[in-house]
């Protein structure tokens, strides 16, 4: 802001002290006498002194802020994760800067670079569905930027990661469909690049195996853009329907809602006949028609855990070399 506000210098001048003394008094350093501290604190209070974070960042070469990259804040899963992140970050006096990749690799990279140049102290990121090449992240990491991945994590990147138990979530959802009598269960999923895609496919397959149902590759449809374009979904639905599925298991929030939308739009007559189970954190799922069985991820908690890990990396005195991948359980909410 361009307007004048009182600085440490002003306080020093007014009190006849040096800036160093004032700075130390404000930070409650042991070297300063109680008397002086009180004096300074009282005056600072009086003139409503606020430390300038920009100057502090420049000097300390850190910003007390962490960057977040998600594909869309409009996605309930991500906005819940963000709330979890904020809850921890604010507690520990970090600020958060949110960026959206809109599932675009280019945008993701642009945002990360921008954040990095703004001296974020650490990065929390869920990869875009387009992202294949994460060398740019490796570079930053190698230069010392702490990174924690969540939800969509790369395989070959040694750092902390936080994910949902995607295998089990998918298994449970698929099993639920099977137990309610479905036998031709399609699987609509995200880009093949994503970790979550692979894990969820495995869960789906495992459930089929358990109930001796043959896995048919043609029943699996990938959406490269994560359902960002409705055309993509309508196409997938169009290809799937001739195979006469009696159930569909869908592996992401946006795809789940998008798929139901596409079904209703293109084939309203069958929309209610196909059982749907899908990952979604929408809090509106109870309003949906047709209703569905949903797999809810512990989004808020995921944000919290990821942030705790990140802050521990940021504040570690020596480089961290032991990394964890935390796996959080999902919750199956059955169709009413």
């Amino acid at each position: 802001m361009r307007f004048e506000t009182s600085t440490i210098k002003d306080i020093a001048k007014a009190l006849g002290l040096s800036t160093s003394t004032v700075s130390r008094a404000l930070r409650d350093r042991y070297e300063i006498s109680e008397e002086t501290k009180k004096l300074v604190l009282a005056y600072a209070e009086k003139v409503n002194y606020r430390a300038n974070p920009i100057a502090r960042s420049l000097k300390e070469r850190r910003s007390y802020s962490i960057g977040i990259i998600v594909s869309e804040i409009a996605n309930n899963f991500f906005s819940q994760v963000i709330n979890g992140i904020e809850s921890i970050a604010y507690d520990k006096d970090y600020h958060v800067i949110i960026s959206q990749s809109h599932e675009s690799y280019k945008q993701e990279k642009l945002n990360v670079d921008h954040l990095a140049s703004r001296s974020i102290d650490g990065l929390l990121i869920a990869l875009s569905s387009e992202t294949q090449d994460i060398d740019y992240l490796r570079d930053l990491y190698a230069k010392g930027l702490p990174i924690v991945f969540f939800d969509r994590v790369p395989e070959d990147f040694e750092t902390h990661k936080v994910i949902a138990n995607n295998f089990k979530g998918s298994f449970d959802a698929t099993e639920h469909l099977i137990l309610s009598g479905k036998r031709t269960i399609a699987h609509l999923t995200n880009s093949e690049n994503l970790s979550i895609t692979k894990e969820r496919l495995e869960g789906y397959k495992a459930a089929l195996v358990k109930y001796h149902i043959e896995f048919r590759p043609e029943l699996v449809k990938y959406c490269q853009h994560g359902g960002m374009h409705s055309a993509e979904l309508e196409q997938a639905v169009k290809e799937l329907l001739p195979l006469k599925p009696d159930g569909i298991f869908i592996s992401s929030d946006r795809l789940t809602t998008g798929c139901i939308m596409a079904l209703k739009k293109t084939n309203p007559e069958v929309a209610h006949k196909i059982a749907i189970a899908g990952f979604t954190n929408s809090n509106l799922v109870e309003l949906f028609s047709p209703s569905l069985t949903s797999v809810k991820q512990p989004a808020f908690e995921m944000g919290q855990v990821a942030t705790e890990l990140l802050i521990s990396m940021i504040e570690a005195k020596r480089p961290v070399t032991e990394f964890e991948t935390k796996v959080l359980d999902t919750e199956l909410v059955k169709k009413r």
Copy 2:
């Protein structure tokens, strides 16, 4: 970030120039010869020089970033506004910092103060439903921080504002209910503090007047917390139902979905008998059951317009004294 990156000084040393020359060359100032400029630019490119925005902010006393305060990013209306804001801001080389008030006055004030201390160049804000006292914003504004309000705007604050045509939106929605034969139309709305609450109430009343329907104050229910707590909504529904409304007009995104949810939960047998029309920007509205008529706000555009106004204030050479309140039309999407 704590890791080393090349600075203007490094370039200067390497090229045997002074930092001033390098700085000017990078900023393409007329005083520097083409030759030197080329040299500097080439070298900067080579070492992948990135200006340190922190240092720049400190020196220039501005940050090229604008702050946003909304109540919830999980709200479709707000996330669309944010997308609109970003689309303009990035174009003009501003970065955005998003904060959520969660409809709490305290949180709102905290966030604003935090943003202000981080030297944002301007503020875009939609007030929380709790907010009554905006003196803290007046102070900042008086000190020189440009502020543009959108959606939830205060009455007595001279600056740019961007709102939807709430009166017309409400009128249209209410009229639609009347034309489909409803006569006992309840109105569920936000906190009385909010500008949108008043304007939407007026639109509702005007439609009643036009069709000679008596206005009954007991049919209007206010939700102080904007529907953040489900108890609040269930209470409102409980009080409304004994009055036997055959239609409900709801005045905000969160309230609309929350009300349907409360209806389904507490009185599933009547949920489908009451016609609902409500403000919502949810892109899932087609999936809802019961289905409803929705009033969509031009959220993306609202973000764009507000940002353009804000940036014009930020970049104005002399204090702006002429302010506009832009009013954007809403769209009525009738129930199928």
